[in-house]
Symmetry: C2
Subunit: 257 residues, 2 copies
């Protein structure tokens, strides 16, 4: 059995832990589940904002399976923890959504930076938040996503401090992975994208930046969750941050060349 | 005025010619217009088959504008010639679709190989069908697209014969352009993808292949049109092959690195 299949079985049985360092080498995804009535506008939002919202899998209406991501995958049970949203508020954080599932729901799975971080580390680039065993720092920017129906809001970015030569190499490496956020969206001047205090991230934890390093920013999968919260839609389900969907795809499969 | 804007104005005024060699440097697109009822399944088809169906623009429901592709663009008038489909048959080939437009229509614009051909030629790679002033040869393969609702059918590919070193370089160059079909899907063995006679293309014109060349195959934008015809949907509108939508985007903007 693949380590990714074992992980999903564990989660299906009720285990609920962060998926960091689980099934290394396998693609993890952000989850967004919406009623069919809202799914078209959300799909279009992802289409229009592919850097923060790269779709790597999508269910049929009412079908909890996404065989392309895992033959036995059941989106109602296989994520370690969910968030159930009503009118923009979290109303439940269950370990399965059997009680919340409906015949009109569509599940979207969006790429996650864990995939490109693996490629960076395999290339010998050290990542500060991993050295320090904290969450990556994330920031709301002054860059507006292109809106679609009720879905609108700022681009959220993650930041990794790198030496300039590593930053250039990181641009090359992550450009190979457009399905998991791709190349950085910014580097060097946080204030240019509306970040006032790099020491105070809006999500995650702060990390130190050395004098000979520059901050490098990537579009972040928190963006769609922030946008869903902001839209105050009547009903939505997402994963709980850091407790992702583990798929049977391999990170290396996402390299375009 | 941009040459692309001038071209659209000419087409809006009734001019109806092939867009090959028109507004060089600007992105041209394949057009598919469907009623909202079918648009979700078609959007998902494109999502699931991004190599033949890379979406570069999409309208709001009932809105004939796509400002991201051209501020003044009107999808009802700006394509040189359209095909109106009913139940899988072409029932009209007008130069505008004012009489066919409805409030429930959604327009999809899909990337086209003209963009990556420009990048290849700028790199000094000569393309046989352009040397011979004929249409690129295209073939139905035995590779099935992933289906979505009524939309299903084989991947259609275009073929360009190249010397091996040029083929390798062409893989590198076109990998930079995932929004316009990206890297080749096959090279060297036409029979492996179900092509029995390379001298008899299913669409376009045959071109000679020299003894020191290999055929290189790219996913082709004819795929969605073949799929729409095959689905026999009650109503759809496409462009007429070779008479594309000319946009104000530049081909170079589509390079990912």
């Amino acid at each position: 059995m693949l380590p990714s299949e074992q992980a999903r079985r564990d989660f299906r049985a009720g285990k609920s832990v962060t998926t960091s360092n689980i099934a290394n080498g396998f693609v993890q995804g952000n989850l967004a589940i919406l009623p069919e009535k809202l799914a078209g506008a959300f799909h279009r939002f992802c289409q229009l904002n592919p850097k923060p919202c790269p779709i790597i899998g999508m269910s049929e209406v009412g079908d909890p399976r996404i065989p392309a991501l895992g033959l036995d995958l059941d989106i109602r049970t296989d994520v370690p923890r969910y968030r159930v949203w009503r009118d923009g508020e979290i109303v439940d954080e269950p370990t399965d959504i059997m009680a919340h599932w409906r015949d009109d729901l569509v599940a979207f799975v969006l790429g996650c930076s864990f995939s490109f971080e693996e490629a960076l580390m395999e290339d010998g680039i050290s990542l500060r938040h991993i050295e320090h065993k904290v969450r990556v720092p994330m920031y709301r920017t002054n860059v507006a996503c292109t809106s679609s129906g009720p879905f609108e809001g700022p681009l959220v970015v993650s930041m990794r401090p790198l030496k300039p030569a590593d930053a250039i190499r990181a641009v090359q490496i992550t450009s190979r992975y457009p399905a998991v956020h791709g190349a950085p969206v910014h580097l060097g001047h946080p204030q240019s994208i509306g970040i006032k205090d790099i020491g105070k991230p809006d999500y995650g934890d702060p990390v130190p930046i050395a004098a000979d390093e520059i901050p490098v920013f990537w579009a972040c999968g928190v963006t769609p969750q922030a946008v869903i919260a902001n839209a105050k839609v009547p009903f939505a389900i997402t994963h709980s941050p850091g407790l992702m969907l583990v798929t049977d795809l391999r990170n290396k499969q996402f390299a375009v060349i």
